[in-house]
């Protein structure tokens, strides 16, 4: 049976080196993937994932077993991304991350790239709070309740945001049809 994340986290917090290493191994890909979905920048995902891993060494003692480790870690990641956005020059620049893919698309046009480009365009049209929500619900397949906990907002807000996303996608689709 696999040891639960929560127990590993507690043990690592108490100084168990192996537990810490196992925890990193298990979750690094998720951390990286979520940041990539939230920012669209590969280098940001690498940078931030590394910072988060380093930070975890000191933060695990703050983990309380009552919490679900995965939820707790999602929050850590989301907060780190918010901090990153705050440090970015402007929102224009933050959304430019998804724009990089647009450039890549022109360099190398394939089906996969076109799909990525569509995603980049769609994501960069959404405001940041909707982007966060979409990344968690659609990307990570979280329930609305879990996403609400990670984002520190009410479930109702998550539901509203998701319907807002649908409304915006509709508007975009109409615009594309007209074009």
């Amino acid at each position: 049976m696999e040891t639960a994340d929560e127990d590993l986290a507690c043990a690592a917090g108490l100084g168990d080196r192996d537990a810490f290493a196992l925890l990193l191994e298990r979750h690094y890909d998720m951390i990286f993937g979520l940041i990539l979905r939230l920012t669209g920048h590969r280098y940001v995902a690498e940078d931030l994932a590394q910072d988060i891993c380093i930070g975890l060494a000191g933060k695990l003692s703050g983990f309380e077993k009552r919490a679900r480790f995965r939820t707790w870690l999602y929050r850590v990641v989301v907060n780190a991304v918010h901090d990153w956005r705050r440090r970015e020059t402007s929102r224009a620049k933050a959304s430019a991350g998804w724009g990089d893919w647009e450039i890549a698309r022109q360099a190398e046009m394939s089906d996969a790239e076109a799909s990525k480009a569509w995603l980049a365009e769609t994501m960069s049209q959404l405001p940041e709070d909707l982007r966060d929500t979409v990344a968690l619900i659609l990307g990570e397949e979280m329930t609305q309740a879990a996403a609400a906990e990670v984002l520190g907002i009410s479930e109702g807000t998550v539901a509203w945001r998701m319907s807002e996303v649908k409304r915006r996608l509709r508007a975009v689709a109409v615009a594309e049809d007209l074009a």
């Binding site: 507690c10 043990a11 280098y43 996608l169």
Partner: protein, 713 residues
């Protein structure tokens, strides 16, 4: 519509590009190192037997212990945890920042059973002893007025008190749109942003005090050295300006009464980074954040041609001009210019240069790494064949890109430079350590060794806090290697850290935004700045109360020194390089002038100038300078009286004054009265002189932009 929704969903799920194994490996390795480091520091904490934090700590322990016990059965499932030996310790804020989150740690090599834990942890957790954790003696909060009854000749210079005082809660220059909310909103949150939490700030100050206690052991009567605290406070107490840039906090200096604080002491400054930031802001059509405007750095950006020292004299020569203040009829300005001697290229010692280059992902912008690659070759031409260059890149893990190579091997150096690719995060400390090691290895008798750190300044991520970095640099300073910092790009720029690093590393900080600026800094000036002619240069002015009623120093807010530090050779100060000029300007109010701001004291009235003062009426004050020959331990003294009578001001002096006005107009122009942009521009325009490189013309243009932006506000 819902098609698109599904499309978005599947696209997002497919987004999970696999992370690079290299990046993953680096992240895990660094994280494990950090983990080990923290474990070690815990051991130290236990050995130190520092007293615990108190009651809160105890509950924390019990919470932890019971948590642990409840999951014991589950833990037994894995080998590693089952064999676990748990330590029980209480950690003080001095040793472990994890205590900041309120979760206390356990230590003490005890097999964990409830009873053992209880007996073991009880003695280490006595009741709260607030005196055990030293509270840093905070300097008084600055007030423009000097308190009555204060010693007329206070121990510590007023200047220092003003510049040292913490101003964490004065983000008045932060644009309101920007969130100033603390980064650590919740315990789970990470301090990835530049803003330190209040706790870690206190932690830093406490550590600084601890260090000072050690440092002052061999010294007479000095227990706390404020300027040391200043370094830490500068690093930690700052706010976020526009975008993600951070700037040191300070308040503009205020008018002081000569009778109460007759002596003003500060360290010289040849940094120019502030001007670069002001320029890039104005060129982008935005007024710069007030915290980014350091008047002394703006003044010192420009080349001046002050009288140079003759052969056989001190390495630099002071000249003093007293002139009428353009913005106030009732006051005068005292302009102090230091001109450093210019070393002939042939006469200079061989140079060892270690380029420490930030290749983190954030440097991947045209005005960062690519600009640096363009700029550095410019400097190669100015080096001599026997000078040596090495290149260290740091991003995640630091590495030597170019082993020490003679400057004549130009192709080899350029190839190494071209091969630099932006990638990964920033671990400044590892890179610095490697660069210092390389510099030490290259250094031979009589050489000058300098590390040139090129970065967008994003040091705040990674395992080391900026305070620790600056301290590290300060410690290495003793080995004779200088450190200069070149800032690139905006958005990430951590101006405060850059400035602190350069100050601690006996170097300069400059900000590079264009190739032209790179040309100026690297070629014209760095070749000078690379060769220090005087170290630890301190300036002290004693004003004559018979002539001067009040004074203020324009700028230098972050450079103040305590009065007694002037003669203390152990106290660090700024350096002057070959050909550098340094300018400082005081505004002084003569006795009896209608412009006097500080009301006379009701209870100190008898001690007026008439009774106390017997100074000569033709001396406005007395200027003293201390400096060390590069590498020397003992300082030399230069001194001269400042004449009371105004003299004719040269173009250089008038231009410096105009720029001082410019700097004040960009911040708070509380002393300028009706004098505004129009007047400042006219003054600068009339004092442009030859201006062979167009720097002064550019300043006038910037002032015009500043004028229109201010008018629009």
């Amino acid at each position: 519509m819902s098609d698109d929704f599904e499309k978005l969903k599947s696209a997002l799920q497919r987004t999970s590009d696999k992370p690079g194994t290299e990046a993953k490996g680096a992240a895990m390795r660094l994280a494990m190192e950090e983990f080990d480091r923290l474990q070690e520091s815990q051991t130290e904490a236990r050995l130190n037997s520092d007293p615990p934090q108190g009651a809160a700590g105890q509950t924390g322990i019990w919470h932890m212990v019971s948590n642990f016990l409840s999951s014991r059965a589950a833990l037994a499932a894995t080998g590693s945890i089952a064999a676990l030996t748990v330590g029980v310790v209480v950690v003080t804020p001095l040793m472990n920042d994890r205590s900041l989150t309120g979760s206390d740690r356990l230590t003490g090599e005890v097999e964990l059973t409830p009873s053992v834990a209880a007996t073991e942890s009880a003695p280490v957790a006595p009741e709260v002893s607030p005196s055990a954790v030293p509270e840093p003696p905070m300097p008084p909060v600055p007030t423009p007025m000097v308190t009555p009854g204060e010693d007329p000749a206070p121990e510590a210079d007023q200047e220092v008190l003003h510049s040292v005082a913490p101003r964490a809660i004065a983000p008045q220059s932060a644009p309101p749109a920007l969130s100033t909310e603390p980064v650590l909103e919740e315990t789970e949150n990470f301090a990835l942003s530049a803003e330190p939490s209040g706790q870690s700030r206190r932690d830093l100050i406490a550590r600084s005090l601890e260090r000072d206690a050690t440092a002052s052991e061999g010294m007479t009567g000095l227990t706390v050295r404020p300027e040391r605290m200043l370094e830490d406070i500068e690093i930690t107490q700052r706010h976020i300006g526009q975008s993600g840039d951070t700037f040191p906090e300070f308040e503009p200096s205020v008018m002081k009464t000569v009778l109460e604080a007759p002596v003003s002491t500060f360290s010289v400054e040849v940094d120019t980074a502030s001007y670069g930031i002001v320029r890039s802001s104005l060129m982008a059509g935005v007024l710069p954040p007030e915290g980014a405007v350091r008047i002394e750095e703006i003044i010192n950006y420009f080349p001046y041609d002050y009288p140079a020292p003759s052969v056989g004299e001190a390495p630099f020569r002071p000249s003093v001009t007293v002139l009428e203040t353009p913005w106030n009829e009732g006051t005068q300005l005292v302009h102090i210019g230091l001109q450093g001697q210019i070393l002939e290229a042939d006469a200079r010692p061989p140079l060892n240069l270690v380029l420490l280059i930030d290749t983190s992902g954030s440097m991947d912008q045209p005005n960062k790494l690519p600009l640096l690659k363009q700029a550095l070759p410019l400097m190669l031409d100015r080096l001599r064949p026997e000078d040596e260059i090495a290149i260290v890149a740091y991003a995640g893990n630091a590495g030597v890109v170019l082993e020490p190579t003679r400057a004549e091997a130009r192709a080899q150096i350029l190839t190494a430079l071209d091969g630099l690719q932006p990638r990964g995060g920033t671990a400044g400390q590892a890179g610095l350590e490697q660069a210092y090691a390389l510099a030490a290895q290259m250094s031979e008798e009589g050489d000058v060794s300098r590390i040139l750190l090129a970065t967008d300044g994003d040091f705040n991520v990674g395992p080391s806090d900026p305070g620790a970095l600056a301290r590290y640099v300060g410690e290495r300073r003793g080995e004779g290697t200088y450190l200069s910092v070149l800032g690139f790009g905006r958005g990430n720029l951590d101006d405060a850290t850059m400035q602190a690093l350069a100050q601690n590393g006996n170097g300069t900080a400059a900000y590079i935004d264009t190739v032209a600026e790179a040309q100026k800094v690297l070629v014209e000036q760095l070749t000078g700045a690379l060769f220090p002619i005087a170290d630890d240069v301190k300036v002290q002015v004693e004003f004559n109360p018979a002539v001067v009623q009040e004074y203020r120093l324009l700028g230098y807010e972050t450079r103040g020194l305590a009065r007694q530090d002037f003669n203390n050779d152990a106290v660090d100060a700024g350096e002057i390089g070959s050909g550098h000029t340094v300018t400082a300007i005081y505004e002084v109010t003569p006795v009896g002038s209608p412009a006097i701001r500080n009301e006379p004291l009701r209870y100190g009235a008898e001690e007026s100038a008439e009774t106390v003062v017997s100074g000569p009426r033709d001396e406005l004050g007395y200027l003293k300078l201390r400096y060390k020959a590069p590498g020397a331990a003992q300082s030399a003294l230069l001194e001269m009286p400042i004449p009371a009578a105004p003299q004719e001001a040269s173009e250089d002096v008038r231009f410096a004054v105009a720029i001082a006005g410019f700097g004040q107009l960009l911040t708070e122009a509380r002393y300028l009265g009706d004098w505004g942009w129009e007047e400042a521009i006219a003054l600068a325009q009339g004092a442009r002189g030859e201006d062979p490189f167009g720097y002064r013309a550019e300043a006038v243009r910037l002032m015009r932009i500043g004028q229109s932006l201010s008018d629009a506000r």
